[in-house]
């Protein structure tokens, strides 16, 4: 088992290295740190000097290795715009994003598993069809539109309807200016978490339902019933345990993608996390932030993929042996 994990980790290293090259090349190709300068009147005179200062006149490979060395050492440079240390910026924003991810995943997992199990147990019931329909809607709906509509109907409509001073749920930022209490935090948390959960729940519940249905038609379920095990226990003990295996791996992969994938949610709700950081940096041409940002998110994606692999081995005894 341990060798399996170690081997998978070792295999990830070259992936990260290749990814770093890819990311570096891509960033070079699509961004222009000199963009601002080109617009100024002294452009023709200032640009060569600036190019040299930034090291952009060196061959690409040299630029890459120099950057890579700095990156691994932890020197990620300064933001062009805010002049703040990039590393602290990113880790600070990462912390905020992780909050959203934790709440979102917890909520989504519970709902998705419950819905999936119910739908499999009561296949073709009215509620099953409803859940299926809703998950289709969830998968077909643009997330940003859901965010806007949720603001409209959960923030403004109740506020106007009940003539409140402040809305019940907030739609901007992490907390109010003066109130840093838990309740205030929750009121700010609800809408972004709801928004990010829509897609997760839609996909996961359908998958769990499908997984449960597959599992429940297995021979070992019939054996369990032949032993005299109650239907509910067969479902929850024999069925769910097996159906969760593929779901957890899918969840791990999806979670890995969330670290760089909350751009919409954070931008609309003004949540100061990784997604918002990226958006601002891209708009303002702050290339010093973009490259480390891409690397960090890539590492998370690779890391969670690795976790998915390992989880598989942990949860399914058949895999452990190999």
């Amino acid at each position: 088992m341990l060798t399996y994990v170690v081997r998978r980790i070792a295999l990830s290293i070259p992936v990260i290295v290749v990814a770093s090259m890819l990311v570096f090349g891509f960033t070079q190709a699509t961004t222009d740190p000199l963009a601002r300068l080109r617009q100024s009147r002294d452009a023709a005179r200032l640009i060569p000097a600036e190019r040299h200062r930034l090291g952009l006149d060196r061959p690409l490979v040299v630029q890459y290795t120099s950057w890579a060395k700095d990156f691994v050492k932890g020197d990620w440079g300064e933001s062009f715009i805010s002049r703040r240390d990039v590393k602290t910026e990113i880790f600070d924003k990462l912390g905020k994003t992780i909050q959203l991810i934790i709440w979102g995943v917890l909520f989504s997992a519970l709902v998705a598993i419950a819905v999936g199990v119910y739908s499999a147990a009561r296949q073709y019931s009215a509620l099953d069809y409803t859940f299926t329909g809703l998950s289709f809607v969830g998968l077909s709906m643009p997330v940003f539109w859901f965010a806007l509509m949720s603001i409209q109907f959960l923030v403004f409509v109740p506020k106007n309807l009940f003539h409140l001073n402040q809305p019940i749920l907030y739609s901007v930022g992490l907390h109010s200016a003066t109130d840093h209490s838990l309740l205030d935090y929750i009121r700010h948390l609800v809408l972004p978490v709801l928004t990010l959960s829509v897609q997760l729940v839609a996909g996961w519940s359908r998958y769990e339902r499908s997984s449960m249905l597959d599992v429940m038609s297995s021979d070992y379920i019939r054996t369990a019933r032949a032993k005299g095990v109650r239907r509910s226990r067969v479902l929850l003990k024999h069925g769910l345990r097996n159906a969760l295996i593929p779901l957890t791996t899918v969840m791990a992969v999806d979670i890995g993608g969330l670290f760089g994938g909350l751009i919409i949610t954070e931008t609309i709700f003004g949540w100061p996390g990784m997604g918002r950081l990226f958006f601002d940096a891209l708009l303002s041409g702050d290339t010093n932030i973009l490259l480390p940002w891409l690397m960090v998110t890539a590492v998370f994606i690779i890391g969670f993929n690795l976790l998915a692999d390992v989880l598989y081995g942990v949860l399914d005894p058949r895999i452990r042996v190999s």
Partner: protein, 351 residues
């Protein structure tokens, strides 16, 4: 058990970039089961002699597909809705009640800021522009993007997947590692950077419109889903005897791929192409909403929502409803259709 298949995990990663890992995993399993179902549909009952490796008769498969498909009333309805939507988009200039860019005279401005009414079914914006008209015209762009991305990525993905699946070995490994690289970076971020970096710059000698640029970069994202599915089916089909028989009779690889294997891959390809239409529309609208997609003055549903974002919470909030609903209805229809197609090709999937 198909779900425990390790390769399915690879597919999960593929779609984790854009959709849910769950979607692609189910797509990959469909490909597997589809290849297996070809075995089941062949030959007679249990006593049928050697039916396993015979080449399936393409025509009877189609009949089977259509029969099963039409049993799914929801999918058929969804297909009808899609055809209707595309017709509305194609004939938008003829159907639209008003001009897309009306003269901003007193008459138009008088009608501005009105909610849905008999005169303006979807209301008007601050400049008095009829929203129904704008939604119709925007539909042309969004639906076009969806269709084009699906077609281009299917062509690309099928070619790569077929080669990887047929030749196997190191060709397969290299191609698959290459597609894997696409999974490692966050898709939306990369798309945004690509759009910003390429906008306005000539590609292969041409300056692309923002719409065409979006089609290009989205295709570059979606081809790998199709490539994986095609590769999966090809890997299964490669083991079948009819492929060996064809090879033994001297057919070239190209001929085998195109005449024998591809026709049997049509099912999963069709399903995934359909689903890509929906994903492409969603991604395009998201990018346009953020400002990194279709640029004004071209209207798309996404950039309509970008402009009306500020209307939330005001009495112009209705400006947000309709473009979003349009996206929802379209993609929903696409997904129902794709789901029905998947069922029709692979009736053994648990549903």
């Amino acid at each position: 058990m198909a779900i425990s298949d390790r390769d399915g995990l690879e597919a999960a990663r593929a779609a984790a970039t854009v959709g849910s890992g769950a979607q692609a995993l189910v797509a990959e399993q469909t490909a597997e089961r589809y290849a297996k179902s070809l075995e089941v549909d062949l030959g007679g009952g249990p006593a049928g002699p050697g039916g396993r490796d015979r080449e399936p008769a393409a025509r009877s498969q189609w009949q089977l597909f259509w029969r099963r498909f039409f049993k799914h009333k929801l999918a058929v309805a969804a297909g009808a809705v899609l055809i209707l939507l595309y017709l509305l988009a194609i004939f938008a200039p003829q159907i639209a009640p008003y001009k897309l860019n009306p003269n901003l005279d007193a008459k138009t401005l008088l009608d501005a800021r009105h909610g849905p009414s008999m005169k303006h079914w979807f209301g008007t914006d601050e400049l008095g522009r009829d929203q129904l008209t704008r939604v119709l015209y925007a539909g042309r762009i969004s639906l076009l993007v969806g269709l084009c991305v699906a077609l281009v990525s299917t062509l690309l993905g099928t070619a790569v997947g077929a080669v990887a699946g047929y030749f196997g070995g190191w060709v397969d490994q290299i191609l698959m590692r290459f597609t894997d690289l696409f999974l490692v970076v966050p898709a939306l971020a990369v798309l945004m950077m690509a759009q910003k970096g390429l906008a306005g710059k000539p590609i292969l000698g041409h300056r692309l419109s923002s719409t065409n640029l979006i089609i290009l970069i989205l295709s570059f994202l979606f081809w790998q889903t199709i490539a994986r599915v095609v590769r999966g089916v090809f890997l299964s089909l490669k083991e079948k005897e009819f492929v060996e028989a064809a090879r033994a009779s001297g057919a070239s690889s190209f001929r085998i791929i195109t005449r024998h294997m591809l026709p049997n891959t049509v099912g999963p390809i069709a399903v995934n192409t359909t689903l890509v239409v929906g994903l492409a529309i969603l991604t395009e609208s998201t990018l346009s909403f953020l400002g990194f997609g279709v640029q004004p003055p071209t209207v798309s549903w996404g950039n309509m929502l970008a402009q009306s974002e500020g209307a939330v919470g005001t009495n112009l909030a209705y400006l947000v409803y309709f473009p979003g609903l349009a996206i929802l209805v379209t993609v929903l229809a696409v997904n129902f259709l794709g789901d029905g197609m998947r069922d029709a090709f692979d009736p053994q999937s648990t549903h």
